[in-house]
């Protein structure tokens, strides 16, 4: 199983989505030009629970958005509610299989290692899993950053200090206020790139 790569802006979005909601789980979808290459992350929900109609609407809209921006669904990310929980829970596994179908197979499931979030700066704090026979198997060294790890993590720590994670909007935020751009999160990307 080969490793996946992720760009700093995509990494930033998923980490800060988790940082924005430290007391609950989060879930989002990963996009990229081809499987194994992650260039964007779309945050879907905080407090990840099995509400089928909500999740279906999110996945369908991401699918349409990906087609319109010449990109593909290549995986998903989750951060669990409890600090030391780095497992692929039953809901993540199930939704993961749906996302894998949308990706046409070979997708990657990233679990955020909450305890390693932004500390140490040398660690991405992510665990990678790939689907095999209907289950998610861990891939050691399964995810690398397409950039400098230490600098990126430093920038993110800085962002959190300045409360930039509040600029990350997920589909749930969008339903409360449709002017929030959950598909692109352009405002956050600008702030991140300026740091």
């Amino acid at each position: 199983m080969t490793a996946s790569t992720i760009t700093p802006p995509a990494y930033a979005k998923l980490i800060l989505h988790a940082a924005k909601y430290p007391s609950v789980s989060v879930f989002g979808v990963l996009l990229g030009p081809s499987s194994g290459s992650i260039t964007d992350a779309v945050p879907v929900v905080h407090d990840f629970v099995a509400l089928s109609s909500f999740l279906e609407a999110a996945l369908e809209q991401i699918k349409i958005h990906a087609a319109r921006t010449q990109t593909r669904i290549v995986g998903l990310y989750v951060a669990n509610q409890l600090l030391e929980d780095v497992s692929v829970g039953p809901l993540a596994a199930k939704v993961g299989l749906e996302v894998d179908k949308l990706a046409g197979g070979n997708s990657v499931l990233l679990v955020v290692d909450n305890a390693k979030l932004l500390e140490p700066e040398s660690d991405l704090g992510l665990l990678a899993f790939k689907e095999a026979s209907g289950a998610w198997k861990p891939v050691s060294n399964g995810i690398t950053l397409n950039g400098k790890v230490w600098e990126t993590v430093q920038t993110l720590k800085d962002c959190v200090e300045k409360d930039k994670q509040t600029l990350i909007y997920d589909f749930s935020n969008h339903l409360d206020d449709p002017s929030l751009d959950w598909l692109n999160n352009g405002a956050f990307v600008d702030a991140f790139q300026k740091s």
Binding site: A50, L51, S53, E56, A57, Q81, D177, L183
Partner: protein
Amino acid sequence: MLLEAQGQYEDALELYNAALKQDETYAPIIKRKVAVLIDQGKTHDAITALTHYLDHFHADLEAWTTLSQVYLRSQMFQQAAFALEECMIMGGFNFLYHIRYAEVNMTLNRPAVALKYFCSAVEVTESGGGALRAWYGVRQASHALLENHNKVSLGNTGSNPKQSGKKGAVAAASHGIQESVDNDVVSPEEWKALNALAGERIEAIYKAKKVSTENIEVVKGWLNTVSA
């Protein structure tokens, strides 16, 4: 609570249990105990403690809300629905309970019940922005009902369409509250009308909020997948 914040759960629990020995009905401490159990990941124990608490302090909306969240996170949908019903009795003015109840019913494959509560959520919501979640649900639930109806009536040629619609809703649903819905007279025509209305309302909300054209196109594309 300091011990809780430091992650020393067992020590915190010892303190709480000692306090409860002095007065076993002191509600705030019982609730802290539940919070500790949830943080420890001891879901089963948390549920036992919380339901025991609610047996004695029935009218605690916050506790019922917490219980519904714990059930939902443990994929216990039937129980979550029950807890949300209690929430709606006490807090029926809060559209979020209606919506969550409706969403749980969608997960339980009961689109008829879901549709009712997405509609009641619309009624209870004041601003158009808050109702977006509800209109999304009306669109999805009405679409699901029409899909089931079409599947059933394809094998039911010649029978009364109103009846097969109800049969379709029954066939698609599981037991329980569904029985009370059988006496409803909502028909496929009304599902289609609600579906169309939801689409109109959703597009109107997006336009009013001056959402980007790109985003509106994505939403329109999605609306097509859940149309009548």
